[in-house]
Amino acid sequence: MSVKQPPSNPTQSSAALQSSFQTLLDNYQTTIPARVKLIDSFLLFIFLSGILQFAYRVLVTSYPFYAFAGGFGSTVGQFVLLAGLRAQVAPGRDGEFKEVSQERAFADFCAASVILHLFAFNFLG
C-alpha cells in the first residue's frame, strides 16, 4: 500500500484509508495489554459523558451554568488525568518515566482526581 504520491484516484485513497483503519484496529487488539484497554474504555465513557453534557447545554439550556461548568470541567479533568495515567502504565513507559513507578503513578492519579473533584464539587453550589 504505497501512499507516496498524493492520491489522484479517490477510490484508491479511500481504500487506503480504510485499510489503514483496519491495521490500526488489528494492532490495537493485539499489542495493547488488558489494563490499558480498561483505561481506554473508561476514557471513552468519559468522553461520551462530556459530549452529552455539552449537547444538553447547547440544545436544551445552560440554566444552572455553574452546574454545567462543574460537571463538564470534571469530565475534561478526569479524562486528561486518566490519559496521563495511561501514558504512565502503557508499554514503553520506562524510557520516559524514570522517577515515577507505576504504583506511584496510580497514587498520583488518585490524589489528583480527589482534589479535582473537590474543586468541581465546590463549584456546583
Binding site: 501512499v3 484509508l17 489503514s20 479533568g77
Partner: protein, 820 residues
C-alpha cells in the same frame, strides 16, 4: 591505584552536576561512578601509568564521602536559615524607626478586609457589601477583591490563637510580608537547584533575600498582594519544573494548588497562566514532546483552571478572555499530539501518514471555525485594557487616563535597574547564556522567563518585581559557575605533558582522550574558536585563583552594602508618617496624615461623607472610618470624574455636585509649606484630564495653563485655575503664615499672591500641624434661601446686589412685592 582514585575525590559534587542532567546525585555515587568508569576501561593495567592530578592547594584526603555529604547538607541548611533571617531582618527598618503600622494606601484596604474576616467570620467576609465606600453606590467587596492575602493572614491569626500565642491582627498583617520573603528565598533555592547546582541555589536564595527589587513591595508593613504573590510564583514555577522533570501528576497537582492560591492573591497571576503554556509550546516546537510534559501540563491545567474559577473575582474569566486562551490552546494542542503519538505507535509508517493527514485537516478546520465564531460573536472577550496597555504603551494615556496616571505604571528608567538589582543585572545575561549552553528542558524555562520579563520590566516600573526572581536565579548561575571554575583545585595538564604521556602508550588517540577525560573530570567549557583547541582547560596558577575569587567576594560585599543602603533609604518609608531632620540633627516626625484622620474620626458625625481624591480613599476608610466618595479601587471612572470636576470647577458649579452627593467634608493634601511634593496641586492636572474625559465641554485642560503653556499658581495663574475649588482650598489663608512677606510655595517655587481667597460654600474645619492635610466643611443651604455667595457678601458688609439669580433663589419662586 590509590592516587588515581583519590584525586577525583578531591572534586566531588561541584563538578559533575554541571555536565550531567541529575544534579541531585550525592558524592559517593559520583565517586563510585568515577571509580567504575576508570576501572571498566578495557585496557591492560600494566600499560597505564597512573597519572596523579596536581592540585593548586592541598585538600584533606582522609574524610569519607558520607561525612562530606552530611557536612554539606548541614551547611546548606544553616546557610538557608541565615538567609531567611537576613531576608526578614532587612525588611524591618520601618518597624524599628517608626512603629508597626500599615504603610501606603492599598494595604489599608487589605487591613480593613482582614479585620472584617477575623472579627466577623468567613461568611461575613465572603459576602461583604460595604455601603461606606463609593458613596452612594457601595461596593460588593466580597466579589471584587482578591481574597488570598486576607485569608492567608486570617489562617495565620487563627493558627497562632490555636497554639495559645495570640498575636493581634495588625501585627500579623505587618509582619506577614517579611515572613513570606524568607519562604521565597527557600523556594528560590529549590528552583535554582533544579536548574544548576545547590551552590548556585544558595547564591540565588541570598540574592533574592535582599534584592531591593523585591524588598520594595514586601517590607514589614507593606501588606499588599505582592507580599505573598512572589512566594507563590516561585513555588508554582518550582513545582512545574519538578512536574515536568518527573512526569508525576502529584507535582502537577501541587503546581495547580500554588497557582490557584496565586489566582486568589494577585491579579498578576496571568503571568503564570501564559508562562507555563509558552514553555510547553516552545518545547513542542523544539521536538521535545514526551509523555512527562503531557501529564504535567494536563494535570496542572485542569486542576488549576477549576481551582482558579473558585475565586469570585475570576470566575469564568479563564474560559472567556483572551489572556487565558493561550493556555487553552496549548492544552488542546497537547491532547492532539498525544493522541497522534499513540496512534503512531499502533500503525506502521506509511499508512500512518495518510491517517495523520486526514485527521489533522479535520481537527484544524473544526477548531479554527469554532474559534472564529466565538471571537466574532463576542463570547470571548478581547484583551483587558490594563493588559493591552503593556503591548501598546500609548493606549492608556488616550483611553484610560486613570491607569496612565499611576506613577507605578510609567516606563522604567535605566537607573532603576541598577538601583533595584545592582550587580545582578550584569550577571543576568551571562546566566541566560549558560542556560543556552546546556539547554535542558528546565533551562529553556529560564530563557523564556528572562526574555518575557525583561520586556515587561522595561514597560512598567511596577513589573520590576516580576523580573527580580529570574535575575537572581540567572545571576546566581553565572556567578556560581565563575566561582567554581576558579575554586576548583585541579590543575590541568599542559599540552606537552599530555602528548608525552600518550606517546609512551601503544593505544589510539581516542582511547587516550577518553582516559584523560575520565581522570580529568573537569567542567567542560567547550569554548570554540580561539579559546578552543585540543589542550586541556582550566586554571593553572594559585595567584589567578586568588585574584578572581577576591574580586568576586568584593562584588558580593558591595552588593550587600548597596542593598541594605537602598532598603534603608528608599523603600522603608511608611508613607503615612514622614520624617525629616531638625537643624540640630534630631529626627522630626511629620505625622500630619494620622493627625488629620484621627481628627475626623473623633470630631465628625459617624456617617459624614468625606470627599477627597481617590488616592486617599482607603486611608480615610481605614483610619478615619468614614464613608468616602472614591477610593483606590478606581472601578467607576464616572464617579472619579465627578470628583475631578468638582475639584476643578468654581464654587457655583461645584456646590450642586457636592450637595447632590451629600458631601460633608472635603479633604485636600497641600505640600506647599513643607515642600511635600506629592500633594494635590501636583496631581491636579490628572483630575482635570479625567474630568475632561467625561465632560469635554465643561472642563478643558488648556484653561488651566497660562498663555505661554506654563502650569502656574502665582499671579500668572488663569482665572479658571484661580477660581477652582482645589486652588482655593489649598491656598486659603496661606499668606497669613508669612506675616506680610510674600507667600512662598516651596513645592512649585512660586509666590502666591497675597490677595485673600474667599470661600463662599466651604468653612475651614481643620488644618494639620504642617498644613499638609486641610479639611473643609461644606455649608448647608442658607436657612432663608439666599444664594451662598450673597451670604458672604452680606456678612462682609457689602450691599446686596439684586441680580436675576438671587431674586429667583427664594424658596417657592420669585419674590414679588404686594400690589399697592
Amino acid at each position: 591505584m590509590a592516587p588515581k582514585v583519590k584525586t577525583p575525590a578531591a572534586t566531588p559534587s561541584k563538578n559533575t552536576p554541571l555536565s550531567t542532567p541529575t544534579p541531585g546525585k550525592i558524592a559517593s555515587d559520583i565517586l563510585a561512578e568515577q571509580a567504575t568508569v576508570v576501572d571498566n576501561d578495557p585496557l591492560p593495567a600494566a600499560t597505564i601509568t597512573p597519572r596523579v592530578r596536581k592540585l593548586a592547594y592541598p585538600l584533606p584526603t582522609h574524610i569519607s564521602p558520607t561525612t562530606i555529604n552530611n557536612t554539606e547538607s548541614l551547611l546548606r541548611f544553616v546557610i538557608l536559615a541565615l538567609i531567611c533571617g537576613a531576608a526578614i531582618g532587612s525588611r524591618l527598618f520601618a518597624v524599628i524607626r517608626f512603629e508597626s503600622v500599615i504603610h501606603e494606601f492599598d494595604p489599608w484596604f487589605n487591613f480593613r478586609a482582614s479585620k472584617v474576616l477575623v472579627n466577623e467570620g468567613f461568611y461575613e467576609f465572603w459576602n461583604w457589601f460595604d455601603p461606606t465606600a463609593w458613596y452612594p453606590l457601595g461596593r460588593t467587596v466580597g466579589t471584587t477583591l482578591y481574597p488570598g492575602l486576607m485569608v492567608t493572614a486570617g489562617v495565620i491569626w487563627h493558627f497562632l490563637r490555636l497554639i495559645n500565642m495570640p498575636v493581634d491582627i495588625r501585627n500579623v498583617c505587618v509582619m506577614l510580608a517579611p515572613g513570606f520573603a524568607g519562604l521565597t528565598a527557600w523556594t528560590t533555592y529549590l528552583f535554582t537547584t533544579e536548574m544548576s547546582t545547590p551552590s548556585a541555589g544558595l547564591l540565588a536564595a541570598a540574592f533574592i533575600g535582599i534584592a531591593p527589587g523585591y524588598i520594595s513591595r514586601s517590607v514589614a508593613g507593606s501588606y499588599d498582594n505582592e507580599a505573598i504573590a512572589i512566594f507563590l510564583l516561585m513555588g508554582a514555577f518550582y513545582s512545574w519544573i519538578k512536574a515536568m522533570k518527573t512526569g508525576s501528576a502529584l507535582w502537577g497537582m501541587i503546581t495547580a494548588i500554588f497557582y490557584g492560591w496565586m489566582v486568589a492573591a494577585w491579579g498578576g497571576y496571568v503571568f503564570i497562566t501564559n508562562m507555563i503554556p509558552l514553555h510547553a509550546f516552545v518545547l513542542i516546537l523544539m521536538g521535545r514532546f514526551n509523555n512527562r510534559l503531557y501529564t504535567a501540563y494536563s494535570s496542572w491545567y485542569v486542576i488549576g483552571t477549576i481551582s482558579s474559577m473558585q475565586v469570585p473575582f475570576v470566575e469564568f474569566l479563564p474560559i472567556r478572555t483572551s489572556e487565558h486562551m493561550a493556555a487553552l490552546g496549548v492544552f488542546g494542542l497537547l491532547q492532539l499530539i498525544a493522541f497522534v503519538e499513540i496512534v503512531r505507535r499502533l500503525v506502521p509508517g506509511k499508512q500512518f501518514q495518510l491517517l495523520l493527514r486526514a485527521f489533522v485537516v479535520l481537527v484544524f478546520v473544526v477548531s479554527f471555525a469554532a474559534l472564529v465564531v466565538l471571537t466574532f460573536s463576542g463570547w470571548i472577550a478581547p484583551f483587558a485594557g490594563r493588559f493591552y496597555s503593556l503591548w501598546d504603551t500609548g493606549y492608556a494615556k488616550v483611553h484610560m487616563p486613570i491607569i496612565a496616571s499611576v506613577s507605578e505604571h510609567q516606563p522604567t528608567a535605566w537607573p532603576s535597574f541598577f538601583f533595584d538589582l545592582e550587580m545582578l543585572i550584569f550577571f543576568f545575561p551571562a546566566g541566560v547564556f549558560w542556560c543556552f549552553k546546556e539547554l535542558r528542558d528546565e533551562q529553556i524555562f529560564i530563557i523564556i522567563y528572562a526574555t518575557l520579563s525583561a520586556y515587561f520590566a522595561g514597560v512598567m516600573v511596577r513589573l520590576m518585581l516580576v523580573i527580580t526572581p529570574v535575575v537572581c536565579v540567572a545571576a546566581a548561575i553565572a556567578f556560581s559557575k565563575l566561582l567554581e571554575a576558579y575554586i576548583d583545585p585541579v590543575i590541568p595538564e599542559s599540552e606537552e605533558e599530555l602528548e608525552e604521556a600518550t606517546a609512551h602508550q601503544p593505544m589510539s588517540k581516542a582511547k587516550a582522550k577518553k582516559i584523560a577525560a575520565a581522570q580529568q573530570n573537569k567542567p567542560e567549557f567547550n569554548f570554540t574558536g580561539i579559546l578552543g583547541g585540543k589542550g586541556e582547560k582550566g586554571i593553572f596558577g594559585l595567584d589567578t585563583r586568588f585574584a578572581v575569587v577576591s574580586v568576586l567576594s568584593l562584588f558580593l560585599f558591595l552588593f550587600v552594602y548597596h542593598c541594605t543602603w537602598v532598603t534603608s533609604s528608599a523603600y522603608s518609608s511608611p508613607s503615612v508618617v514622614l520624617a525629616s531632620r531638625n537643624p540640630d540633627g534630631s529626627q522630626n516626625i511629620i505625622d500630619d496624615f494620622r493627625e488629620a484622620y484621627y481628627w475626623i474620626r473623633q470630631n465628625t458625625e459617624k456617617d459624614s461623607v468625606i470627599m477627597s481624591w481617590w488616592d486617599y480613599g482607603y486611608q480615610i476608610a481605614g483610619m478615619a472610618d468614614r464613608p468616602t466618595l472614591v477610593d483606590n479601587n478606581t472601578w467607576n471612572n464616572t464617579h472619579i470624574a465627578t470628583v475631578g470636576k468638582a475639584m476643578s470647577s468654581n464654587e457655583d458649579i461645584a456646590y450642586p455636585i457636592l450637595r447632590k452627593h451629600d458631601v460633608d467634608y472635603i479633604l485636600v493634601i497641600f505640600g506647599g509649606l513643607l515642600g511635600y511634593s506629592g500633594d494635590d496641586i501636583n496631581k491636579f492636572l490628572w483630575m482635570v484630564r479625567i474630568a475632561q474625559g467625561e465632560w469635554p465641554d465643561e472642563v478643558q485642560e488648556v484653561n488651566y495653563f497660562t498663555q505661554r503653556g506654563e502650569y502656574a499658581v502665582d499671579e500668572r495663574a488663569t482665572p479658571t485655575m484661580k477660581n477652582s475649588l482645589m486652588y482655593k482650598m489649598s491656598y486659603y489663608r496661606f499668606h497669613e503664615l508669612f506675616g506680610g512677606h510674600p507667600a512662598q510655595d516651596r513645592v512649585r517655587g512660586q509666590t502666591i499672591p497675597s490677595t485673600g481667597i474667599q470661600l463662599d460654600t466651604l468653612d475651614e474645619a481643620f488644618t494639620s500641624e504642617n498644613w499638609i492635610v486641610r479639611i473643609y466643611k461644606v455649608k448647608k443651604e442658607d436657612a432663608i434661601g439666599r444664594d451662598l455667595k450673597a451670604v458672604t457678601s452680606f456678612e462682609g458688609g457689602k450691599k446686596l446686589k439684586k441680580s436675576a439669580t438671587s431674586s429667583n433663589n427664594a424658596i417657592g419662586g420669585k419674590k414679588s412685592r404686594p400690589n399697592m
